[in-house]
Protein backbone atom coordinates (compact mmCIF):
# COMPACT_ATOMS: atom_id res chain seq x y z
CA UNK A 1 0.00 0.00 0.00
CA UNK A 2 2.88 2.41 0.67
CA UNK A 3 3.67 2.54 -3.05
CA UNK A 4 0.09 3.40 -4.08
CA UNK A 5 0.47 7.12 -3.39
CA UNK A 6 3.74 7.39 -5.33
CA UNK A 7 2.31 5.48 -8.33
CA UNK A 8 -0.80 7.66 -8.51
CA UNK A 9 1.17 10.86 -8.02
CA UNK A 10 3.39 9.69 -10.88
CA UNK A 11 0.34 9.02 -13.10
CA UNK A 12 -1.11 12.47 -12.38
CA UNK A 13 2.16 14.32 -13.01
CA UNK A 14 2.96 12.28 -16.13
CA UNK A 15 -0.45 13.03 -17.64
CA UNK A 16 -0.24 16.74 -16.83
CA UNK A 17 3.28 17.07 -18.21
CA UNK A 18 2.40 15.08 -21.35
CA UNK A 19 -0.49 17.44 -21.96
CA UNK A 20 1.69 20.43 -21.27
CA UNK A 21 4.37 19.38 -23.70
CA UNK A 22 1.89 18.40 -26.39
CA UNK A 23 2.06 14.61 -26.33
CA UNK A 24 -1.60 14.36 -25.34
CA UNK A 25 -3.83 16.60 -27.35
CA UNK A 26 -7.20 16.70 -25.68
CA UNK A 27 -8.95 19.30 -23.54
CA UNK A 28 -7.40 19.47 -20.11
CA UNK A 29 -10.62 18.59 -18.34
CA UNK A 30 -10.71 15.31 -20.27
CA UNK A 31 -7.12 14.59 -19.19
CA UNK A 32 -8.07 15.31 -15.58
CA UNK A 33 -10.99 12.88 -15.80
CA UNK A 34 -8.69 10.24 -17.32
CA UNK A 35 -6.24 10.84 -14.47
CA UNK A 36 -9.10 10.40 -11.99
CA UNK A 37 -10.15 7.10 -13.56
CA UNK A 38 -6.59 5.73 -13.77
CA UNK A 39 -5.88 6.65 -10.15
CA UNK A 40 -9.10 4.98 -9.07
CA UNK A 41 -8.33 1.80 -11.04
CA UNK A 42 -4.83 1.52 -9.55
CA UNK A 43 -6.23 2.39 -6.12
CA UNK A 44 -8.95 -0.26 -6.50
CA UNK A 45 -6.38 -2.96 -7.30
CA UNK A 46 -4.29 -2.09 -4.24
CA UNK A 47 -7.29 -1.76 -1.95
CA UNK A 48 -8.79 -5.02 -3.15
CA UNK A 49 -5.53 -6.79 -2.39
CA UNK A 50 -5.21 -5.18 1.04
CA UNK A 51 -8.77 -4.82 2.36
CA UNK A 52 -11.13 -6.72 0.03
CA UNK A 53 -14.07 -5.71 -2.12
CA UNK A 54 -15.82 -3.56 0.53
CA UNK A 55 -13.00 -1.02 0.46
CA UNK A 56 -13.21 -0.84 -3.34
CA UNK A 57 -16.96 -0.23 -3.26
CA UNK A 58 -16.48 2.76 -0.97
CA UNK A 59 -13.98 4.45 -3.29
CA UNK A 60 -16.52 6.52 -5.29
CA UNK A 61 -17.64 8.19 -2.06
CA UNK A 62 -14.03 8.93 -1.14
CA UNK A 63 -13.03 10.65 -4.38
CA UNK A 64 -16.29 12.63 -4.61
CA UNK A 65 -15.20 14.29 -1.37
CA UNK A 66 -12.62 16.14 -3.48
CA UNK A 67 -15.30 18.32 -5.06
CA UNK A 68 -15.48 21.64 -3.21
CA UNK A 69 -18.88 23.10 -4.02
CA UNK A 70 -18.28 26.59 -2.67
CA UNK A 71 -16.12 28.12 -5.43
CA UNK A 72 -18.30 26.49 -8.10
CA UNK A 73 -21.53 27.89 -6.72
CA UNK A 74 -19.93 31.25 -5.87
CA UNK A 75 -18.79 31.55 -9.48
CA UNK A 76 -22.25 30.67 -10.77
CA UNK A 77 -23.95 33.26 -8.58
CA UNK A 78 -21.41 35.90 -9.60
CA UNK A 79 -22.13 35.17 -13.25
CA UNK A 80 -25.86 35.33 -12.47
CA UNK A 81 -25.50 38.84 -11.07
CA UNK A 82 -23.33 39.89 -14.00
CA UNK A 83 -26.08 38.72 -16.38
CA UNK A 84 -28.65 40.71 -14.41
CA UNK A 85 -26.52 43.86 -14.41
CA UNK A 86 -25.95 43.60 -18.15
CA UNK A 87 -29.61 43.08 -19.01
CA UNK A 88 -30.89 45.88 -16.81
CA UNK A 89 -28.42 48.51 -17.99
CA UNK A 90 -26.45 48.42 -14.74
CA UNK A 91 -23.16 48.73 -16.60
CA UNK A 92 -24.36 51.92 -18.26
CA UNK A 93 -25.22 53.29 -14.83
CA UNK A 94 -21.73 52.35 -13.65
CA UNK A 95 -20.24 54.14 -16.66
CA UNK A 96 -22.12 57.30 -15.71
CA UNK A 97 -20.80 57.05 -12.16
CA UNK A 98 -17.27 56.46 -13.40
CA UNK A 99 -17.52 59.50 -15.64
CA UNK A 100 -18.49 61.51 -12.57
CA UNK A 101 -15.47 60.11 -10.69
CA UNK A 102 -13.14 60.84 -13.61
CA UNK A 103 -14.17 64.48 -13.49
CA UNK A 104 -13.45 64.63 -9.74
CA UNK A 105 -9.96 65.60 -8.42
CA UNK A 106 -8.74 61.98 -8.61
CA UNK A 107 -9.22 62.03 -12.37
CA UNK A 108 -9.20 59.07 -14.77
CA UNK A 109 -6.02 57.47 -13.47
CA UNK A 110 -7.07 57.66 -9.81
CA UNK A 111 -10.42 56.09 -10.74
CA UNK A 112 -8.67 53.27 -12.57
CA UNK A 113 -6.31 52.61 -9.64
CA UNK A 114 -9.31 52.28 -7.29
CA UNK A 115 -11.14 50.10 -9.82
CA UNK A 116 -8.11 47.79 -10.14
CA UNK A 117 -7.94 47.37 -6.35
CA UNK A 118 -11.69 46.94 -5.90
CA UNK A 119 -11.60 43.10 -5.70
CA UNK A 120 -9.25 43.08 -2.70
CA UNK A 121 -11.14 45.94 -1.06
CA UNK A 122 -14.39 43.95 -1.31
CA UNK A 123 -12.64 40.56 -0.72
CA UNK A 124 -15.30 38.16 -1.96
CA UNK A 125 -14.69 34.41 -1.48
CA UNK A 126 -14.08 33.89 -5.20
CA UNK A 127 -12.44 36.50 -7.44
CA UNK A 128 -14.52 35.36 -10.38
CA UNK A 129 -17.68 36.92 -8.88
CA UNK A 130 -16.46 40.49 -9.30
CA UNK A 131 -14.42 39.67 -12.41
CA UNK A 132 -17.48 38.27 -14.18
CA UNK A 133 -19.41 41.40 -13.29
CA UNK A 134 -16.78 44.06 -13.98
CA UNK A 135 -14.57 42.76 -16.81
CA UNK A 136 -17.20 43.61 -19.47
CA UNK A 137 -17.24 47.12 -18.01
CA UNK A 138 -13.45 47.49 -18.25
CA UNK A 139 -13.64 46.39 -21.88
CA UNK A 140 -15.90 49.37 -22.64
CA UNK A 141 -13.01 51.76 -21.86
CA UNK A 142 -11.35 50.80 -25.13
CA UNK A 143 -12.15 51.74 -28.70
CA UNK A 144 -14.14 48.56 -29.37
CA UNK A 145 -16.09 48.91 -26.14
CA UNK A 146 -17.46 52.28 -27.18
CA UNK A 147 -15.92 54.79 -24.74
CA UNK A 148 -12.56 55.00 -26.49
CA UNK A 149 -10.82 56.54 -23.46
CA UNK A 150 -7.91 54.10 -23.35
CA UNK A 151 -5.50 52.82 -25.99
CA UNK A 152 -4.95 49.11 -26.62
CA UNK A 153 -1.82 49.08 -24.48
CA UNK A 154 -3.54 50.83 -21.58
CA UNK A 155 -6.52 48.47 -21.78
CA UNK A 156 -4.22 45.43 -21.63
CA UNK A 157 -2.59 46.81 -18.48
CA UNK A 158 -5.93 47.72 -16.92
CA UNK A 159 -7.61 44.35 -17.56
CA UNK A 160 -4.49 42.34 -16.66
CA UNK A 161 -3.92 44.18 -13.38
CA UNK A 162 -7.59 44.05 -12.42
CA UNK A 163 -7.76 40.30 -13.08
CA UNK A 164 -4.58 39.78 -11.05
CA UNK A 165 -6.12 41.65 -8.15
CA UNK A 166 -9.37 39.68 -8.45
CA UNK A 167 -7.70 36.26 -8.69
CA UNK A 168 -6.11 36.58 -5.30
CA UNK A 169 -8.89 38.35 -3.49
CA UNK A 170 -10.29 35.01 -2.31
CA UNK A 171 -7.25 34.86 -0.01
CA UNK A 172 -8.07 37.70 2.38
CA UNK A 173 -11.82 37.08 2.20
CA UNK A 174 -13.41 36.69 5.65
CA UNK A 175 -16.45 34.83 4.25
CA UNK A 176 -15.00 31.49 3.26
CA UNK A 177 -11.74 32.67 1.71
CA UNK A 178 -8.80 30.37 1.03
CA UNK A 179 -6.70 32.04 3.74
CA UNK A 180 -9.09 30.77 6.39
CA UNK A 181 -7.85 27.23 5.79
CA UNK A 182 -4.48 28.25 7.24
CA UNK A 183 -6.00 30.58 9.85
CA UNK A 184 -7.91 27.59 11.18
CA UNK A 185 -4.64 25.74 11.80
CA UNK A 186 -2.84 28.75 13.27
CA UNK A 187 -5.77 29.13 15.68
CA UNK A 188 -4.27 26.45 17.85
CA UNK A 189 -1.59 28.93 18.98
CA UNK A 190 -2.73 32.46 18.04
CA UNK A 191 -5.99 32.99 19.88
CA UNK A 192 -7.27 35.51 17.37
CA UNK A 193 -6.12 33.71 14.24
CA UNK A 194 -9.63 32.93 13.09
CA UNK A 195 -10.41 36.67 13.09
CA UNK A 196 -8.08 37.01 10.15
CA UNK A 197 -4.40 36.85 11.08
CA UNK A 198 -3.44 36.27 7.43
CA UNK A 199 -5.73 38.84 5.83
CA UNK A 200 -3.55 41.93 6.15
CA UNK A 201 -0.33 40.32 4.77
CA UNK A 202 -2.26 39.00 1.80
CA UNK A 203 -4.06 42.26 1.02
CA UNK A 204 -0.79 44.19 1.40
CA UNK A 205 1.24 41.99 -0.93
CA UNK A 206 -1.58 41.75 -3.46
CA UNK A 207 -1.68 45.52 -3.74
CA UNK A 208 2.02 45.71 -4.52
CA UNK A 209 1.92 42.59 -6.72
CA UNK A 210 -0.89 44.07 -8.80
CA UNK A 211 1.20 47.14 -9.54
CA UNK A 212 4.17 45.00 -10.63
CA UNK A 213 1.88 42.95 -12.90
CA UNK A 214 0.78 46.19 -14.55
CA UNK A 215 4.41 47.06 -15.16
CA UNK A 216 5.28 43.57 -16.42
CA UNK A 217 2.44 43.70 -18.95
CA UNK A 218 3.63 47.07 -20.21
CA UNK A 219 7.37 46.37 -20.32
CA UNK A 220 7.67 42.64 -21.05
CA UNK A 221 4.51 40.92 -22.31
CA UNK A 222 3.57 43.53 -24.88
CA UNK A 223 7.11 43.76 -26.12
CA UNK A 224 7.62 40.01 -26.51
CA UNK A 225 4.15 39.24 -27.85
CA UNK A 226 3.08 42.30 -29.80
CA UNK A 227 0.56 40.35 -31.87
CA UNK A 228 -0.98 38.17 -29.19
CA UNK A 229 -3.78 40.58 -28.34
CA UNK A 230 -6.31 41.16 -31.06
CA UNK A 231 -7.87 44.28 -29.56
CA UNK A 232 -7.96 47.13 -32.04
CA UNK A 233 -6.67 50.68 -31.67
CA UNK A 234 -8.86 53.58 -32.63
CA UNK A 235 -8.34 54.41 -36.34
CA UNK A 236 -5.72 57.14 -36.85
CA UNK A 237 -8.24 59.62 -38.18
CA UNK A 238 -10.37 59.24 -35.07
CA UNK A 239 -7.39 59.23 -32.74
CA UNK A 240 -5.98 62.42 -34.26
CA UNK A 241 -9.07 64.46 -33.59
CA UNK A 242 -10.06 64.44 -29.97
CA UNK A 243 -12.23 61.37 -29.54
CA UNK A 244 -15.68 62.71 -28.74
CA UNK A 245 -16.89 60.76 -25.75
CA UNK A 246 -20.39 59.52 -26.48
CA UNK A 247 -23.10 60.80 -24.21
CA UNK A 248 -24.04 57.94 -21.89
CA UNK A 249 -27.48 57.66 -20.44
CA UNK A 250 -28.53 54.86 -18.18
CA UNK A 251 -32.10 53.70 -17.58
CA UNK A 252 -33.50 54.02 -14.08
CA UNK A 253 -33.56 50.19 -13.89
CA UNK A 254 -29.78 50.24 -14.39
CA UNK A 255 -29.27 52.44 -11.32
CA UNK A 256 -31.61 50.25 -9.31
CA UNK A 257 -29.72 47.11 -10.42
CA UNK A 258 -26.46 48.76 -9.42
CA UNK A 259 -27.81 49.66 -5.99
CA UNK A 260 -29.06 46.07 -5.53
CA UNK A 261 -25.65 44.75 -6.63
CA UNK A 262 -23.73 46.93 -4.16
CA UNK A 263 -26.15 46.19 -1.30
CA UNK A 264 -25.88 42.44 -2.05
CA UNK A 265 -22.08 42.61 -1.95
CA UNK A 266 -22.02 44.60 1.30
CA UNK A 267 -24.58 42.26 2.88
CA UNK A 268 -22.52 39.25 1.82
CA UNK A 269 -19.33 40.73 3.29
CA UNK A 270 -20.57 42.34 6.52
CA UNK A 271 -23.50 39.97 7.12
CA UNK A 272 -25.68 42.49 8.98
CA UNK A 273 -28.63 40.08 8.86
CA UNK A 274 -26.71 37.27 10.54
CA UNK A 275 -24.39 34.60 9.19
CA UNK A 276 -25.59 33.25 5.88
CA UNK A 277 -24.04 31.80 2.71
CA UNK A 278 -22.76 34.42 0.29
CA UNK A 279 -24.43 32.52 -2.53
CA UNK A 280 -27.87 32.90 -0.97
CA UNK A 281 -27.38 36.65 -0.61
CA UNK A 282 -26.25 37.04 -4.22
CA UNK A 283 -29.09 34.89 -5.60
CA UNK A 284 -31.57 36.89 -3.53
CA UNK A 285 -30.04 40.04 -5.07
CA UNK A 286 -30.40 38.59 -8.56
CA UNK A 287 -34.04 37.68 -7.95
CA UNK A 288 -34.69 41.16 -6.60
CA UNK A 289 -33.26 42.48 -9.86
CA UNK A 290 -35.77 40.33 -11.76
CA UNK A 291 -38.65 41.87 -9.80
CA UNK A 292 -37.50 45.48 -9.49
CA UNK A 293 -35.66 45.96 -12.78
CA UNK A 294 -38.06 43.87 -14.86
CA UNK A 295 -35.52 41.55 -16.43
CA UNK A 296 -36.13 37.93 -17.38
CA UNK A 297 -34.75 34.85 -15.64
CA UNK A 298 -33.16 34.04 -18.97
CA UNK A 299 -31.09 37.23 -18.71
CA UNK A 300 -29.57 35.90 -15.51
CA UNK A 301 -28.89 32.52 -17.06
CA UNK A 302 -27.23 34.12 -20.07
CA UNK A 303 -24.50 35.41 -17.77
CA UNK A 304 -23.30 31.89 -16.94
CA UNK A 305 -20.05 30.65 -18.51
CA UNK A 306 -19.71 26.87 -18.18
CA UNK A 307 -16.05 26.15 -19.01
CA UNK A 308 -14.48 27.50 -15.82
CA UNK A 309 -17.10 25.59 -13.83
CA UNK A 310 -16.49 22.21 -15.47
CA UNK A 311 -12.71 22.67 -15.56
CA UNK A 312 -12.69 23.50 -11.86
CA UNK A 313 -14.87 20.47 -11.08
CA UNK A 314 -12.54 18.24 -13.13
CA UNK A 315 -9.58 19.56 -11.10
CA UNK A 316 -11.40 18.75 -7.87
CA UNK A 317 -12.16 15.24 -9.13
CA UNK A 318 -8.52 14.55 -9.97
CA UNK A 319 -7.43 15.92 -6.59
CA UNK A 320 -10.12 13.87 -4.85
CA UNK A 321 -8.87 10.70 -6.52
CA UNK A 322 -5.29 11.53 -5.50
CA UNK A 323 -6.34 12.20 -1.91
CA UNK A 324 -8.35 8.97 -1.74
CA UNK A 325 -5.35 6.97 -2.91
CA UNK A 326 -2.66 8.60 -0.74
CA UNK A 327 -1.19 10.71 -3.57
CA UNK A 328 -0.92 13.84 -1.42
CA UNK A 329 0.59 11.87 1.42
CA UNK A 330 3.33 10.80 -0.97
CA UNK A 331 3.83 14.42 -2.07
CA UNK A 332 4.20 15.49 1.55
CA UNK A 333 6.79 12.77 2.14
CA UNK A 334 8.78 13.82 -0.93
CA UNK A 335 8.82 17.46 0.20
CA UNK A 336 9.74 16.37 3.71
CA UNK A 337 12.65 14.34 2.39
CA UNK A 338 14.10 17.48 0.75
CA UNK A 339 15.13 18.67 4.22
CA UNK A 340 17.84 16.01 4.18
CA UNK A 341 19.45 17.45 1.03
CA UNK A 342 22.45 19.40 2.28
CA UNK A 343 22.28 22.44 0.04
CA UNK A 344 18.54 22.84 0.64
CA UNK A 345 17.86 22.13 4.29
CA UNK A 346 14.68 23.40 5.92
CA UNK A 347 15.01 26.89 4.40
CA UNK A 348 15.42 25.58 0.85
CA UNK A 349 12.61 23.09 1.21
CA UNK A 350 10.29 25.84 2.50
CA UNK A 351 11.28 28.16 -0.35
CA UNK A 352 10.13 25.44 -2.77
CA UNK A 353 7.08 24.55 -0.70
CA UNK A 354 5.66 28.08 -0.61
CA UNK A 355 5.89 28.31 -4.40
CA UNK A 356 4.37 24.89 -5.01
CA UNK A 357 0.96 26.06 -6.16
CA UNK A 358 2.47 28.43 -8.69
CA UNK A 359 4.61 25.55 -9.96
CA UNK A 360 1.43 23.50 -10.44
CA UNK A 361 -1.35 26.08 -10.86
CA UNK A 362 -4.79 24.47 -10.75
CA UNK A 363 -8.14 26.06 -11.52
CA UNK A 364 -8.92 26.76 -7.87
CA UNK A 365 -6.37 27.27 -5.10
CA UNK A 366 -8.50 25.27 -2.69
CA UNK A 367 -7.72 22.00 -4.53
CA UNK A 368 -4.10 21.84 -3.33
CA UNK A 369 -4.35 24.16 -0.33
CA UNK A 370 -6.73 21.78 1.43
CA UNK A 371 -4.17 18.99 0.93
CA UNK A 372 -0.92 20.89 1.57
CA UNK A 373 -1.71 23.19 4.50
CA UNK A 374 -2.02 20.18 6.85
CA UNK A 375 1.46 19.08 5.63
CA UNK A 376 2.86 22.55 6.35
CA UNK A 377 1.19 22.51 9.77
CA UNK A 378 3.05 19.29 10.59
CA UNK A 379 6.40 21.02 9.88
CA UNK A 380 5.66 23.14 12.97
CA UNK A 381 5.59 22.18 16.66
CA UNK A 382 2.69 19.78 16.01
CA UNK A 383 5.04 17.09 14.66
CA UNK A 384 8.41 17.66 12.96
CA UNK A 385 9.34 20.83 14.88
CA UNK A 386 11.28 22.41 12.01
CA UNK A 387 9.58 25.72 12.88
CA UNK A 388 8.17 27.41 15.96
CA UNK A 389 4.67 28.95 15.85
CA UNK A 390 5.81 32.42 14.76
CA UNK A 391 7.94 30.96 11.99
CA UNK A 392 5.03 28.75 10.93
CA UNK A 393 2.77 31.82 10.71
CA UNK A 394 5.34 33.57 8.48
CA UNK A 395 5.63 30.58 6.15
CA UNK A 396 1.83 30.19 6.09
CA UNK A 397 1.46 33.84 5.03
CA UNK A 398 3.89 33.36 2.13
CA UNK A 399 2.38 30.01 1.12
CA UNK A 400 -1.23 31.17 1.23
CA UNK A 401 -0.70 34.28 -0.92
CA UNK A 402 1.17 32.18 -3.46
CA UNK A 403 -1.63 29.61 -3.39
CA UNK A 404 -4.55 32.01 -3.64
CA UNK A 405 -3.03 33.75 -6.61
CA UNK A 406 -2.41 30.44 -8.44
CA UNK A 407 -5.82 30.33 -10.14
CA UNK A 408 -4.66 33.41 -12.08
CA UNK A 409 -1.98 31.64 -14.17
CA UNK A 410 -3.83 28.32 -14.25
CA UNK A 411 -4.53 27.07 -17.75
CA UNK A 412 -7.16 24.63 -16.45
CA UNK A 413 -10.05 27.07 -16.48
CA UNK A 414 -8.27 29.43 -14.07
CA UNK A 415 -9.53 32.91 -13.42
CA UNK A 416 -6.77 34.56 -15.49
CA UNK A 417 -8.36 33.16 -18.62
CA UNK A 418 -11.34 35.45 -18.01
CA UNK A 419 -8.97 38.40 -18.31
CA UNK A 420 -7.31 36.97 -21.42
CA UNK A 421 -10.70 36.43 -23.01
CA UNK A 422 -11.76 39.99 -22.21
CA UNK A 423 -8.63 41.46 -23.78
CA UNK A 424 -8.91 39.04 -26.73
CA UNK A 425 -5.46 37.62 -26.00
CA UNK A 426 -3.86 34.28 -26.81
CA UNK A 427 -4.07 31.92 -23.85
CA UNK A 428 -0.95 32.41 -21.80
CA UNK A 429 -0.39 36.08 -22.61
CA UNK A 430 -0.80 37.42 -19.08
CA UNK A 431 0.34 34.34 -17.21
CA UNK A 432 4.08 35.10 -17.21
CA UNK A 433 3.31 38.37 -15.41
CA UNK A 434 1.13 36.56 -12.90
CA UNK A 435 3.59 33.81 -12.04
CA UNK A 436 6.46 36.31 -11.74
CA UNK A 437 4.51 38.58 -9.39
CA UNK A 438 3.31 35.67 -7.22
CA UNK A 439 6.81 34.26 -6.98
CA UNK A 440 9.01 37.35 -6.71
CA UNK A 441 6.80 39.96 -5.04
CA UNK A 442 3.86 38.57 -3.19
CA UNK A 443 5.32 35.56 -1.36
CA UNK A 444 8.32 37.42 0.17
CA UNK A 445 6.27 40.56 0.87
CA UNK A 446 3.59 38.62 2.77
CA UNK A 447 6.31 36.94 4.85
CA UNK A 448 7.93 40.28 5.69
CA UNK A 449 4.61 41.85 6.60
CA UNK A 450 3.75 38.95 8.86
CA UNK A 451 7.13 39.05 10.57
CA UNK A 452 7.40 42.77 11.17
CA UNK A 453 3.82 43.83 11.76
CA UNK A 454 1.35 41.06 12.48
CA UNK A 455 3.57 39.28 14.95
CA UNK A 456 4.87 42.30 16.81
CA UNK A 457 3.03 44.04 19.60
CA UNK A 458 0.57 46.11 17.67
CA UNK A 459 0.27 49.39 19.53
CA UNK A 460 1.17 52.84 18.22
CA UNK A 461 2.75 53.71 21.57
CA UNK A 462 5.15 50.77 21.33
CA UNK A 463 8.61 51.95 20.23
CA UNK A 464 8.94 48.85 18.02
CA UNK A 465 5.86 49.85 16.10
CA UNK A 466 7.51 52.76 14.29
CA UNK A 467 10.58 50.65 13.65
CA UNK A 468 8.46 47.86 12.21
CA UNK A 469 6.58 50.28 9.97
CA UNK A 470 9.93 51.53 8.69
CA UNK A 471 11.14 47.98 8.08
CA UNK A 472 8.03 47.10 6.07
CA UNK A 473 8.27 50.30 4.04
CA UNK A 474 11.96 49.63 3.39
CA UNK A 475 11.33 46.05 2.29
CA UNK A 476 8.36 47.10 0.10
CA UNK A 477 10.64 49.58 -1.68
CA UNK A 478 13.51 47.06 -1.84
CA UNK A 479 11.46 44.13 -3.19
CA UNK A 480 9.44 46.24 -5.61
CA UNK A 481 12.56 48.25 -6.57
CA UNK A 482 14.74 45.24 -7.39
CA UNK A 483 12.01 43.61 -9.45
CA UNK A 484 11.10 46.81 -11.27
CA UNK A 485 14.79 47.21 -12.05
CA UNK A 486 14.84 43.68 -13.43
CA UNK A 487 11.80 44.41 -15.61
CA UNK A 488 13.14 47.72 -16.91
CA UNK A 489 16.61 46.27 -17.58
CA UNK A 490 15.08 43.25 -19.30
CA UNK A 491 12.87 45.35 -21.54
CA UNK A 492 15.88 47.51 -22.57
CA UNK A 493 17.95 44.44 -23.44
CA UNK A 494 15.33 42.85 -25.66
CA UNK A 495 16.02 42.83 -29.37
CA UNK A 496 14.76 40.92 -32.41
CA UNK A 497 16.73 37.79 -31.51
CA UNK A 498 14.26 35.39 -29.91
CA UNK A 499 16.92 33.19 -28.19
CA UNK A 500 18.55 36.31 -26.73
CA UNK A 501 15.21 37.48 -25.32
CA UNK A 502 14.52 34.04 -23.97
CA UNK A 503 17.79 33.84 -22.04
CA UNK A 504 17.31 37.33 -20.61
CA UNK A 505 13.92 36.27 -19.32
CA UNK A 506 15.26 33.02 -17.90
CA UNK A 507 17.99 34.94 -16.08
CA UNK A 508 15.50 37.44 -14.68
CA UNK A 509 13.10 34.72 -13.65
CA UNK A 510 15.75 32.69 -11.83
CA UNK A 511 17.21 35.78 -10.16
CA UNK A 512 13.73 36.86 -9.01
CA UNK A 513 13.11 33.38 -7.56
CA UNK A 514 16.46 33.30 -5.75
CA UNK A 515 15.92 36.73 -4.18
CA UNK A 516 12.44 35.68 -3.13
CA UNK A 517 13.76 32.50 -1.49
CA UNK A 518 16.50 34.43 0.30
CA UNK A 519 14.05 37.02 1.67
CA UNK A 520 11.72 34.28 2.85
CA UNK A 521 14.61 32.56 4.64
CA UNK A 522 15.56 35.90 6.25
CA UNK A 523 11.95 36.45 7.38
CA UNK A 524 11.80 33.00 8.95
CA UNK A 525 15.33 32.51 10.33
CA UNK A 526 16.61 36.13 10.48
CA UNK A 527 20.29 36.77 9.75
CA UNK A 528 21.72 33.31 9.22
CA UNK A 529 23.97 33.17 6.15
CA UNK A 530 23.64 29.40 5.63
CA UNK A 531 19.86 29.49 5.87
CA UNK A 532 19.64 32.50 3.54
CA UNK A 533 21.88 30.74 0.99
CA UNK A 534 19.74 27.60 1.27
CA UNK A 535 16.62 29.72 0.81
CA UNK A 536 18.14 31.27 -2.32
CA UNK A 537 18.93 27.81 -3.72
CA UNK A 538 15.37 26.67 -2.95
CA UNK A 539 13.97 29.80 -4.60
CA UNK A 540 16.18 29.18 -7.63
CA UNK A 541 14.87 25.62 -7.97
CA UNK A 542 11.27 26.77 -7.51
CA UNK A 543 11.74 29.46 -10.19
CA UNK A 544 13.26 26.89 -12.54
CA UNK A 545 10.32 24.56 -11.97
CA UNK A 546 7.86 27.40 -12.59
CA UNK A 547 9.73 28.74 -15.57
CA UNK A 548 10.65 25.55 -17.37
CA UNK A 549 7.45 23.61 -16.97
CA UNK A 550 6.57 24.88 -20.41
CA UNK A 551 7.84 23.96 -23.87
CA UNK A 552 10.59 26.37 -24.97
CA UNK A 553 8.97 27.10 -28.29
CA UNK A 554 5.86 26.07 -30.10
CA UNK A 555 6.60 22.81 -31.92
CA UNK A 556 5.08 21.39 -35.08
CA UNK A 557 2.98 19.28 -32.83
CA UNK A 558 1.27 22.37 -31.53
CA UNK A 559 1.16 23.99 -34.93
CA UNK A 560 -0.66 20.97 -36.24
CA UNK A 561 -3.08 21.44 -33.39
CA UNK A 562 -3.70 24.98 -34.49
CA UNK A 563 -4.04 24.14 -38.15
CA UNK A 564 -5.32 20.58 -37.94
CA UNK A 565 -8.14 19.18 -40.06
CA UNK A 566 -11.55 20.72 -39.63
CA UNK A 567 -14.16 18.58 -37.96
Amino acid sequence: MEYLGYINLGIFLALMLSTLFGYIRTPVQTVLVISTILCLIVGAIFKYAAYGIDAVLLMPNEFLGGIILHPITALLTGLFLAGGLKASGGFDALKVLLRFLRRSPIGLVGTLVILINLPVISSLPCGRILAAALLPLLFTFGFEGGLGILTKSQLIVLIGAFTRNAMGSCGPSPIGGVGQIAEGFLGSFFATASDGILRAPQAFSLMLGTAVVALFLKLISQKIYPNDVSLREAPDAMAAQKFAEPEIKAPIEGYLALVIFVISLLTAIFQPLGKMPVQSVLVAGALLMVIVCRIRLNDLLEGIILLPVTAMAAGFLAAGALAATDGFKALGQILNSLVGVQFLGVAGMLAIFVQFQTILPLSCARILTAALVPVLYLFGPAQFDFLNWSQLAIVMAAYIINATTSCGPSPLGGGGMMGEGTMRAETGFIKGAYTFASMAIMAPMAAIFMKFLNLSIFQPSDPRFLQDIKMIAAFAILIAGVNILLLVAGSKLFNKESPNNYYIQVFGFLLGGSISGAILAFAVFEIDAVKIAQGAVGGFIAAALIGFMVPRSLSKRMTSTLSGPEL
Binding site: G107, A161, A203, M207, T210, A211, L453, A476, A480
Partner: protein, 48 residues
Protein backbone atom coordinates in the same frame (compact mmCIF):
# COMPACT_ATOMS: atom_id res chain seq x y z
CA UNK B 1 -1.96 49.52 10.08
CA UNK B 2 -3.48 52.12 7.81
CA UNK B 3 -0.14 53.91 7.57
CA UNK B 4 1.57 51.02 5.77
CA UNK B 5 -1.45 50.46 3.56
CA UNK B 6 -1.59 54.12 2.67
CA UNK B 7 2.13 54.01 1.88
CA UNK B 8 1.96 50.93 -0.33
CA UNK B 9 -1.26 52.26 -1.88
CA UNK B 10 0.54 55.40 -2.99
CA UNK B 11 3.48 53.32 -4.24
CA UNK B 12 1.24 50.98 -6.24
CA UNK B 13 -0.86 53.89 -7.53
CA UNK B 14 2.24 55.59 -8.93
CA UNK B 15 3.47 52.35 -10.54
CA UNK B 16 0.07 51.62 -12.11
CA UNK B 17 -0.23 55.19 -13.40
CA UNK B 18 3.17 54.89 -15.05
CA UNK B 19 2.30 51.45 -16.48
CA UNK B 20 -0.86 52.99 -17.93
CA UNK B 21 1.30 55.50 -19.88
CA UNK B 22 0.02 58.34 -17.75
CA UNK B 23 3.31 60.01 -16.97
CA UNK B 24 2.57 63.69 -16.44
CA UNK B 25 3.07 64.96 -12.86
CA UNK B 26 -0.65 65.62 -12.56
CA UNK B 27 -1.55 62.07 -13.62
CA UNK B 28 1.08 60.53 -11.36
CA UNK B 29 -0.32 62.59 -8.47
CA UNK B 30 -3.85 61.45 -9.30
CA UNK B 31 -2.63 57.82 -9.41
CA UNK B 32 -1.06 58.26 -5.99
CA UNK B 33 -4.29 59.79 -4.69
CA UNK B 34 -6.33 56.87 -6.08
CA UNK B 35 -3.86 54.41 -4.54
CA UNK B 36 -4.07 56.24 -1.20
CA UNK B 37 -7.87 55.95 -1.20
CA UNK B 38 -7.68 52.27 -2.23
CA UNK B 39 -5.10 51.54 0.50
CA UNK B 40 -7.13 53.23 3.23
CA UNK B 41 -10.34 51.50 2.08
CA UNK B 42 -8.53 48.16 2.06
CA UNK B 43 -7.15 48.76 5.54
CA UNK B 44 -10.62 49.77 6.79
CA UNK B 45 -12.02 46.40 5.71
CA UNK B 46 -9.37 44.45 7.67
CA UNK B 47 -9.50 43.43 11.34
CA UNK B 48 -7.52 45.71 13.66
Amino acid sequence: MWIVFAFVGILSGVIIAWALDMNSPKEIFQGALGGLIAGILMSAMLPH
